[in-house]
């Protein structure tokens, strides 16, 4: 019997209603990804942003995370891949979603494969993924999957809804391929590997 290190998939969902179509999309994207990653042993950790809404405000004001929020930030930072899903508000990701991104440690998502998902009331918001989410995650240095999924209200309710399932499946399969082709480099802990003082002094002379 071989022991395999489990693959950690963090899922960030920023829907605020209960039940939430954003959460539903996140779950479906996660299922599709996990299926495509089989037989890999995948551990899924879901971060529902609503659960830490107050903690996020406090973190922005005080500069540190509460224990509840810290657990979630650690899960995202240490994940091998991340699925995100946000509702589109005012032509962009929601404010809560952005607050979470704002308090992530520097380089938390660098080189991390990220699958983008968004929901909205109408398909006319679908470009929010490309004009808002994509630049944000490019800035963070994430490895953003080319195939993303936008789900409008009509996608859930119409006879065409079957198409959404296909798009989710396609995104999950493509994401799994991306993830498997790009092993992420280990994070550097600046407290464990400190720059020796002599080299800081030497740097000044250049």
């Amino acid at each position: 019997m071989t022991t395999q290190t489990p693959f950690h998939l963090a899922v960030v969902t920023a829907g605020v209603t209960q039940p939430s179509s954003t959460r539903l999309l996140a779950d479906r994207l996660t299922e599709a990804t996990v299926r495509a990653l089989a037989p890999l042993d995948v551990v899924v950790e879901v971060v529902d942003v609503r659960d830490v809404a107050h903690d996020l405000t406090n973190n922005v004001l005080t500069g540190f995370a509460s224990p509840d929020l810290q657990v979630r930030l650690d899960a995202i930072t240490e994940a091998d891949a991340v699925v995100v899903a946000t509702p589109v508000y005012a032509a962009s990701y929601s404010g809560l979603f952005k607050m979470l991104v704002d308090v992530l440690p520097q380089d938390a998502l660098r080189d991390t494969p990220v699958l983008l998902g968004a929901t909205g009331g109408t398909a006319r918001h679908s470009l929010a993924i490309d004009h808002a989410l994509r630049p944000l995650f490019a800035h963070l240095g994430a490895l953003v999957a080319p195939v993303a999924v936008f789900a409008a209200s009509e996608d859930w309710g119409s006879v065409e809804a079957g198409r959404l399932g296909e798009r989710i499946e396609r995104a999950g399969t493509a994401f799994a391929a991306l993830v498997q082709g790009s092993p992420r480099a280990a994070r550097v802990d600046p407290f464990a590997q400190v720059t020796p003082f002599e080299s800081m002094l030497t740097d000044l002379r250049h």
Partner: protein, 386 residues
């Protein structure tokens, strides 16, 4: 172990009365607080350095500390912090050496980078150079106090040729230096490299930050051969509000907490006290909380508390000092002393450092008699007396 208070000199509206003190009131209150600290038996008073509202802390801490030195006899005077980034290291060397003479060695200083972006350009600096400025400026400051004549060239200030910083350190022993930082491993590394003290602000942030920084400093202190990790010189901040009855403390402090510029309108008082070292309660609770700092910071040498911010009136602050002096510090002195192993050093004092250096020696540099050009003495101008 030393116990004391540190202030940032904020001028904040008292939320219970709506009244904001004038600068003059705040400045005079700061002196009264320092005098009271000595009166109740505390060891250290440290002041911040600020250059802008809403602060009435000195732009140059030795100005305040010299006044306090003249009105006290035992109190050690320090800073929280002296900006090593935006001050000219030559002026730090000279102003603090002068203070060292005036106070008969009752002083040290804590270096910090400052946390306000706008302050850098006021002094011709760039915040992006924060860490390199701290490194280069201190490297120069360190030499100015140890070498009578310095030739120096760096990136951030004009070169020095044959420069003597005056006055020379009292008894030939430079002031002790603490390096303060919240999250920058570079600064813990810097403190360790020189074998200086490391002070963790500790307040406003979770203990895990402090633990991480102190562990790094201790490990590297040993690496650089200054002693074992548990012999490194550590100071911690703390923040307390006390009444004899715990509930009274919470009730009285809550409006100050809820409106304080640093954390007001964010977490609740209860969240903040559980997530940071802030302690609001009885003297006994403060004793227990403070003793527990040692569990993650190790045996340490200096404990400073913030007691005078967020608009608390002077009368209340003086009552806090009474409680610290009468009920908290005597117990902590005894408890910490009983826990400290013999090989862990005491807090650094001028007298102990002079003794360690083999006794006091005058290091006055009498310049060559060149009052025409004002030239500094050259290292080569030695008189041959044989």
């Amino acid at each position: 172990m030393q116990f004391g208070i540190f202030t940032v000199g904020d001028v904040t509206t008292d939320p219970t009365t709506g009244r904001t003190p004038t600068e003059n009131e705040r400045i005079k209150a700061t002196v009264a607080i320092a005098r009271k600290a000595e009166e109740v038996g505390l060891d250290v008073f440290a002041t911040g350095e600020h250059h802008n509202p809403p602060f009435a802390a000195p732009a140059n801490p030795p100005v305040l500390l010299a006044a306090v030195a003249a009105q006290t006899e035992r109190l050690v005077l320090s800073t929280s912090t002296t900006l090593i980034t935006t001050n000219d290291p030559v002026r730090i060397a000279q102003d603090y050496a002068y203070l060292q003479h005036l106070s008969d060695g009752r002083m040290d200083l804590m270096l910090g980078r400052g946390n306000t972006g706008p302050v850098y350009p006021w002094f011709g600096k760039d915040i992006r150079d924060g860490i390199p400025l701290a490194i280069e400026n201190y490297a120069l400051l360190h030499r100015l106090w140890r070498e009578d004549v310095v030739n120096w060239q760096g990136k951030y200030r004009t070169p020095l040729q044959g420069f003597t910083s005056t006055p020379r350190p009292l008894d030939g022993v430079p002031p002790f230096v603490w390096h303060g930082s919240i999250r920058s491993p570079e600064i813990a590394e810097q403190a360790a490299y020189y074998g200086d003290g490391f002070f963790s602000n500790h307040i406003f942030w979770p203990a895990s930050h402090t633990k991480q920084m102190v562990e790094l400093y201790r490990r590297r202190f040993e690496h650089y051969g200054h002693g074992s990790a548990d012999q490194a010189i550590v100071g911690l901040g703390g923040q307390v509000f006390m009444r004899r009855n715990s509930q009274d403390a919470v009730r009285e402090f809550r409006p100050y907490f809820d409106n304080a510029p640093v954390y007001g309108h964010g977490p609740t008082l209860e969240e903040f006290t559980s997530q940071t070292p802030l302690t609001v309660g009885s003297p006994q609770e403060v004793i227990e909380r403070t003793l527990a700092f040692r569990e993650y910071a190790g045996d340490y040498q200096r404990q400073l508390w913030l007691v005078d911010h967020a608009g608390l009136p002077l009368k209340t602050v003086l009552e806090q000092l009474d409680l610290l002096g009468e009920e908290v510090v005597p117990v902590l002195r005894k408890e910490f002393a009983a826990l400290k192993p013999a090989h862990v050093p005491d807090a650094p004092t001028h007298a102990a450092r002079v003794a360690a250096a083999g006794g006091a020696r005058d290091t006055t540099v009498h310049a060559a008699a060149d009052d025409v050009t004002g030239a500094s003495p050259e290292p080569t101008t030695l008189e041959v007396t044989s």
